[in-house]
């Protein structure tokens, strides 16, 4: 049971750390992400800066961050499970030191990512978008 608990804690820290890191990356590097164009009601792939029309990159950045984190955590879990097969030497799960490191990485990545977006958004100048004369009808 303790092995399950330690593994669950490790996976939780990997999920949180990788989400924060990938989300941080989408904030500092102009990566092409899925963009939603609400006035055109369509999706495209690119960078928000490259779109002439009103665009939303939040969905794309979130999906990429959560998707990559899910894949990374799933890969680690599958690898750990394959090591735990019958016939192989039983491993005792992550050590206390590994868990401490996992916790430290998760907290650091979260704080770093939140600080980046606070810094980027604090005092951001609004870019007034050209809208159709009546955008709602």
């Amino acid at each position: 049971m303790m092995v399950d608990l330690r593994r669950a804690a490790l996976y939780a820290s990997i999920l949180s750390t990788s989400t924060s890191l990938v989300f941080f990356l989408t904030g500092v590097v102009s990566l092409p992400v899925p963009l939603y164009l609400p006035l055109d009601r369509r999706w495209s792939i690119g960078t928000a800066a490259g779109e002439p029309s009103l665009s939303m990159d939040y969905f794309g950045r979130s999906l990429i961050a959560l998707g990559v984190a899910g894949i990374v955590t799933g890969a680690v879990a599958l690898t750990a499970r394959s090591w735990h097969r019958p016939g192989r030497a039983t491993i005792s799960g992550p050590t206390t030191k590994t868990l401490r490191l996992g916790l430290a990485y998760a907290v650091t990545a979260f704080v770093l990512c939140a600080s980046l977006f606070a810094y980027k958004l604090y005092g951001r100048e609004a870019v007034l978008t050209e809208l159709p004369s009546d955008p709602l009808h």
Binding site: M2, S13, L15, M56, L103, A106, L128, H137
Partner: protein, 180 residues
């Protein structure tokens, strides 16, 4: 016909978003308090760990989904037409809230991942003598790693609660500026 996605459903979605957020705040704060009790080596009900873990995650997903469905309407009707012109600070605060919600989701998932096996351990020990920590293992190493796991659970649950409370305050401020 409205040209923005789900524009006519806006008021209903705002109500759903708000109701989910109320449940989320209650569940996440309760979960964080349970974690504080565990860190203080006080006994907790193992059922509560699972219950608040699931409630927090489901309410988080529900709030996030309703918010995501509302977002195109907000982007055009609220932000582009009003906030960007008259209160850009509110638009920036709203964007910060959205970003915080995304990086907060793994904390809620992580808290539940830990709560499942943790509740089994807490149950077996609480039955014995009411102390959730002292009798979980005879090995010092296991006890030491259990302490780290409980701290991790504490960080995840308190983090989730802080994200939720921050987002509720930010959402209320933005709504106070322009309405929903």
């Amino acid at each position: 016909m409205p040209s923005v996605f789900l524009q006519s459903w806006g008021p209903l979605l705002v109500v759903l978003h708000s109701l989910s957020a109320i449940v989320l705040c209650g569940a996440s704060v309760h979960q964080a308090l349970l974690a504080v009790l565990l860190v203080q080596q006080r006994p907790v009900r193992s059922r509560s760990l699972r219950l608040y873990g699931w409630t927090t995650l489901l309410a988080y997903l529900s709030t996030l989904t309703a918010g995501a469905l509302l977002y195109p309407r907000y982007r055009v009707v609220i932000r582009a037409l009003f906030l960007d012109r008259h209160a850009p600070w509110a638009a920036n605060l709203f964007d910060f809230k959205e970003n915080l919600a995304t990086i907060g989701l793994p904390l809620a998932i992580g808290a539940l991942l830990i709560a499942q096996p943790l509740s089994t351990i807490a149950l077996s020990t609480t039955k014995a003598d009411g102390d959730a920590l002292n009798r979980t293992s005879n090995e010092a190493a296991s006890e030491s790693s259990l302490r780290v796991v409980i701290w991790m659970y504490g960080v995840m649950t308190v983090g989730t609660a802080l994200v939720c409370l921050t987002n509720v305050v930010a959402g209320l401020l933005c709504t106070a500026v322009r309405g929903a």
